[in-house]
Amino acid sequence: MTATLRRGLPAVALTGAAAVIVILAAPFIGSTSISLARVFSTTLPFSDNVDAQIFFLARLPRAVAAAVVGGALAAAGVILQGLLRNPLATPYTLGVSTGAALGAMIAITYGAMLPAGGVALASLVGAFVAVLVVYALASARHRGLSTTVLLLAGVTLNAFFSALILFVQYLSDFAQTYRALRWLMGDLDVAGYGPIIWALPFMGAAFLAFAWLARPMNLLSLGAEAAGTRGLDVVRAQRVAFFSASLATGAAVSIGGPIGFVGIIIPHLVRLVVGADHRLVLPVSTFVGAAFLVACDVVARTVFAPMELPVGIVTALIGGPFFLWLLLRKT
């Protein structure tokens, strides 16, 4: 195991460097051309410097948001696929994103008077509610967490919340319905660092847990019983995995809406390259997920400029065929 780890370390370093380069390069690409000299000009005051404002107020927050969201979704995907021992699990399988979406829909429809960030806050609350419901169901009749019940409860909750979303949308008025629909397509134009800073504590806690989880996840992937015989506190590991993945997903969705495919294709792609050791899969997936979503967002905002494509459409258009290829290739 240590041998595979040593062999994998260059992959971690390489993808980490690639992610940083992509994040730093992304703000230079866009529908308007900006001059590097003017962006970093010291003579021009910032309030008059259009290029610097495009760079620092419009594009950089977007790139950072995309990186944070992409990294979190990919890592959460890895954890949930390991926890549920199901390659089709995504960060959205357990109902977190639908709960978040329901919260956001209610905020968009009824929360005209909400303060800034009200939609993000409501989506976070919705995600928490969904997590608690699923957790309560999955641990109700078992000593630990039943992954089967977890999966079934998540899928059922997804369907139930989807129905509630449609109901709220039916009651809402036209402009709100459009805004709600647009929110569901995913949007990383955060227009400032507020939403990112806001989600950072949740992300930080989730990633600390992910770091601790790397080794337990390796054992869990052998099955709960086998992991237990090797001295792992299975129930605790499952709980940490479930809550941290849900936390990361909820925070990511509150920033950018339910952006699809990142959480499923990136982990699979990474496992193809570095193998199944979670100590490699987790960091590499985080970096690749970050770089992938930043790149997708660049495509989304440039390909039809001056109009913008919702980033969720770009990830789905790239991710869908890619995932099918992956499926066919494996079987």
Partner: protein, 323 residues
């Protein structure tokens, strides 16, 4: 032998089919002779029980004096006040067909995209007036057509002429003046600069802005509504930003707070010169008979020096919300 058998089978089938047809005709003859509808509905007859599913057309009907002929309106109708007391029959996506039928309308104003409703109304022979939002010029065209349809031809052409004169007066007033680059927005996430929706280079809002002497910064995007971003605004640097919202929800205190959000983009010329206007006024988003007032209001904002001597008193309300 076999041929005979086939023929006899044929004959039995034929007689069964014939009796079916006769039965059907018998039933149909009753339906045809239904006493509920003694005379076929005529397209020429002046309708006296009108239902309007479109607020802009409701306003038109009341403005041309056909208000007493209206028996039902959409759930979004707020103007004129007389219209708000009438029965509501749903709206664009949720028209209540049963409720429409029980009101026994002899004309229903429908939106062109309500395909299901149009089919169902056609099935029960209820005449329809089909309408769809388009440009500024289509408003007066619609008023004239509508007037002819509901027997108010003279009132309608007078109203249309008044609107056209009003628009022409504004057009003349701003002619030759520098046209400020303007962003006309009608959607934004409260408290932030996310989910920005603007008027593109097509439709009545765009036409209103151009008539009022503004240069639409999104004129090259030929859509009624475009989603835009902070970057796009920075790149296109509007000198004036006008946000249009539905009346009611936006109180003066909230408007004052929402204006500050724009300080997040300090290099925008509109922010520097403090030319940000948040207007909560339904005249601005309804392509109805009050459109000339709306255009005059926009012109007064865009060209304050050339403000019309008969500037609307109501104009001072939105202006008062300036910092």
């Amino acid at each position: 032998m076999r041929a005979v058998a086939v023929r006899s089978w044929d004959w039995r089938l034929g007689s069964w089919g014939l009796s079916c047809v006769l039965m059907l005709l018998f039933v149909l003859s009753f339906l045809q002779a239904s006493p509920q509808d003694p005379s076929p509905k005529s397209q020429d007859r002046r309708p006296v029980r009108i239902i309007s599913l479109i607020p802009a057309v409701t306003e038109m009907l009341f403005a041309i004096g056909a208000g007493p002929q209206v028996v039902g309106v959409s759930s979004y109708d707020t103007y004129p006040p007389e219209a708000t007391t009438l029965p509501k029959v749903g709206a664009l996506v949720d028209p209540d067909f049963e409720r429409i039928l029980t009101l026994k309308p002899d004309l229903v104003v429908v939106y062109g995209t309500q395909a299901d409703l149009i089919t169902r109304l056609g099935r029960v022979n209820i005449p329809m007036f089909k309408y769809q939002h388009a440009g500024l010029a289509d408003i007066t065209t619609t008023i004239r057509t509508l007037g002819a349809r509901v027997g108010r031809t003279n009132d309608a052409s007078n109203l249309a002429a008044t609107i056209e004169r009003g628009l022409e007066a504004t057009r003349r007033r701003v002619a030759g003046r520098p046209r400020p680059k303007t962003a006309l927005l009608f959607g934004r996430e409260p408290g932030s600069l996310r989910s920005l929706f603007a008027s593109g280079g097509y439709g009545f809002m765009h036409d209103m802005l151009e008539t009022a002497g503004g240069a639409d910064i999104f004129a090259d995007m030929k859509k009624q509504s475009v989603q835009t971003s902070a970057e796009m605004l920075l790149a296109r640097s509007p000198e004036v930003i006008i946000e249009v919202h539905p009346a009611g929800e936006w109180t003066p205190a909230r408007i004052a707070a929402e204006r500050k959000v724009w300080n997040g983009l300090p290099s925008l010329p509109a922010v520097k010169s403090d030319r940000i206007y948040i207007l909560a006024d339904d005249r601005l988003n309804t392509p109805g008979p009050r459109v000339a007032d709306a255009v005059r209001m926009l012109a007064d904002i865009l060209h304050p020096i050339a403000r019309s001597p008969d500037a609307l008193p109501s104009l001072h309300r939105p202006i008062a919300h300036r910092r």
